[in-house]
Amino acid sequence: MNPFLGLFDSARAATFPAQQGPVARFIFGRDPQEAAYSAGVEGLFMFIFWISTFVFIGLMALSFYWAVKYRRRPGVAPPRSPSHNTALEITWTIIPSIVFISLFFVGFRVYAKQVIAPSDAVRLDLIGYRWGWNLYYPGGVTSTETLPPGTISASSVPVFMFPEDTPILLEMSSQDVIHSFWVPDFRSKMDLFPNRSTSFWFRTSKLQPGDMDNPDLGYPNKEHILYCAEYCGDQHSQMLGLIRVVPREVYENFLRNPWPEGISLVEKGKLLHSLRGCNACHSLDGSSGTGPTWLNWYGYEHRYTDGSTHLADADFTRESIYYPGRKIRSGYQNVMNSYLGQINEEEMRALIAFMRSISDQGGDPTAGFPDEEEETGGN
């Protein structure tokens, strides 16, 4: 290891112990929650903060003192004074340069910890879209829980579970525009792009018996808010997520059986409506958004931009979700992404059942799917 860096690290460790001081607590609001690097980021910030505070107070005190001491007195000439001092000027060039070079090196060291994931990290896929997140667990499992609208956001917020004390590596990409994955508690972020993969890693902290961010759960847990940090349009500020760190057995149970006990097909469809972000464009109350409402959609004939009309049956629903560009409802834009490969058979059944349940022409939503045939691809 570079001895210079080692020296700097130990100086920082001595000045800023791992425990968060009252000033850091005020500045950040909450302790760093990620176990590998976030305390390092915060420690570095506080190091810069104290240097800056020292320099700022020094400069301002000097300015204020001189401005008052040498204030103008009528008829009194200013004293003679130097307007140049080579030694002083060299000093105040070299000292900041040394500080800046040091900051760069320490910043780079901590940055390396932020961007280089350990090889044993659990890899998960994260897709960002307007305006939500899809996290794919092993075996195609996705999140099945949301916070209701009004909890931390005006929209419903998906909950993403992670096992405690585990390095997680998210392979991230975007379906549409640029988004950014930011968990302030982790003190780091990374952008998501529509045409390339980026990654973000963190180590979940080890849960203590007292960690009960959500006391209703009955087991220790920690919760962190996930924000989209890159402006992505109308509901950018609704593009939130909740990261919940849970005991390993809870996580493994979730992977084995992601859906809540005894949930009906219709309820499952209703959950998917918000989990998969359908709610961003398709309302349930009859109001028109970026896309048509789902209220009384199923079982009715609708007019499409090519002049045709089409009955919204199960087959047509499936086509509209997998190949949304084929038929565009009159009065709407061709903006929906294909969900082919993202919504599996069971989820599709749940969505159709839910649509039927909110249409007065839907019939019995739990009845079989008489229209269901092989994908015809007909236009």
């Binding site: 005020f26 500045i27 204030r71 200013p78 780079f108």
Partner: protein
Amino acid sequence: MSTIDTHNAGQHAHHEGSYLTPHGGALATIWNWATTIDHKKIGVMYLFAIMFMFFLGGVAALGVRAELWEPTRVVTQVVEGETVTSYTGQVLVNLAPIVPGVESEGGISAGMNIYNRAFSLHGIIMTFMVIVPSVPASLGNFFLPLMLGAKDVAFPRLNLMSWYIYVFGSIFAVAAVVMGGVDTGWTFYTPYSTMTDADHLRVVFVILAAFILGFSSILTGLNFIVTVHKLRAPGMGWFDMPLFVWAMYATAIIQVLATPVIGITLLLLIFERVFHVGIFDPRMGGDPVLYQHFFWFYSHPVVYVMIIPAFGIINEIIPVHARKKLFGYRAMAFATLGIAAVSFLVWGHHMFTASGELAAMIFSALTFLVAIPTAIKVFNWVATLYKGSIAFNTPMLYALSFLFMFTIGGLTGLPLATLATDLHLHDSYFVVAHFHYVMMGGTIIAFVGGIHHWWPKMFGKLYNERWAIIGCVLVFIGFNLTFFTQFILGTRGMPRRYASYPDEFQFLHQLSTIGSWILGIGFLIHLGVFVHSLVAGRKAPENPWGGLSLEWETESPPIEHNFHHEPIVKHGPYDFDTVQPPHTDPAEFPMPEPLRPGERTH
């Protein structure tokens, strides 16, 4: 001892009128101003246009702050034409008619549309129509030739043309607003900017406006470079120029070199939107990160187009009102050029969360390089106060405010230049606070200070010092309340460009909003002071502050051809310890004892 061979107007055979003297009737006067090639008139027209644009951008900012008063006061639906909040169902003042197009789109996104359009409007107006042209186009146009002892800029007709290009570009932008506004933010990041409002031309209009405004910048910059090279008064070497001129020179170089890049970028963006040529949009085979490189290759140097002129103003205000030779003149001049040069190499620091690790490392290192000359400048200003004779009038209070806020702005740049901390702070309110401390606490504060400093010279009228000081104090308090709170919001995790936010941030947001009201009142007081001065201000003397640079030699307001005789420069612009300022009374501006033989001051 005097700067010019003579400055006694009485010796002249003919008496030339001030540039403000009307020519004939009202129509003739308007025609005279509209077709003028006098740099002073063009500067004044720019000044008022920029003030108007500042007012528009400020109203948008107050709207943004008002919306953020409540965490869930997110307007999410339009019910029967009324805009209501999502939870309380409370009917807001009917916002929909303000933003045409929102009503028809309806639905859940309508309300946030309004917020997103308001902050985009604020950013676009303040960047392209206020801060970029602010100091160079108004004060620069007016004072650069005066400080050089020239009759006008090198190309007066080109100067008039750049003014009309500015007006033309602004009209395009205003047209887009009237048509419904854009929600892209001022950065127009792709692919969002090529997708949004696909059926409207508003985004194209605004981009076109920025493109047109760029030409205005280039022409002004070109004009200034040639003027500085060719039109310095006899006896004025490069290191006899006031530092405001140095600042204008460095700014002009950046404008000429960097602005074409944004021109090309914006043109490509228009091509992509209108002709669907895939450049930035991945759906057409383009790359959105390429856009970010292009955009910041211009927009980072332009950050220095915004701040270097402010340095120039502070370099004039502090020595004149402290009656003190500026500390480290040459260091200041070289620091200005150094910042201008390095500014071209740091664009990648806007993309630490988007670019590869190696690029991030290089750009972080280069960014710290800019910090060094900036730090030197601050030290020089503070050292200039030492053993001065400091007047606490409005320009000086603004200069001290600048020192306070710019230092905070500069120091908070350090955790943003540092890779590890930037990953947390990037795109948070910390960044918003940081660039407002630099752009507003730096540039706008220096600009307002500069307007007060030169107001008596420009209009020949004094302003009401007491009310101007009250305005200045309110601006100082309001500004810090508005933006200091945003640093803490950012470190605590508040992302920027959010119309709604979790409850925990509400208290700080409310403090910030209250600050914005105080700030607004402060600026309104200044507006009142300016209007009062123009209507009923006392006549200003030639040199109210005891300045030594050439603009203080001529009359207030200056005569049409600036000087009765071509000035001959015999001393530096800051030799307050050896030269009695022109038109001043030694009783009011006494000189230090002459040097004893063999004594040196430095």
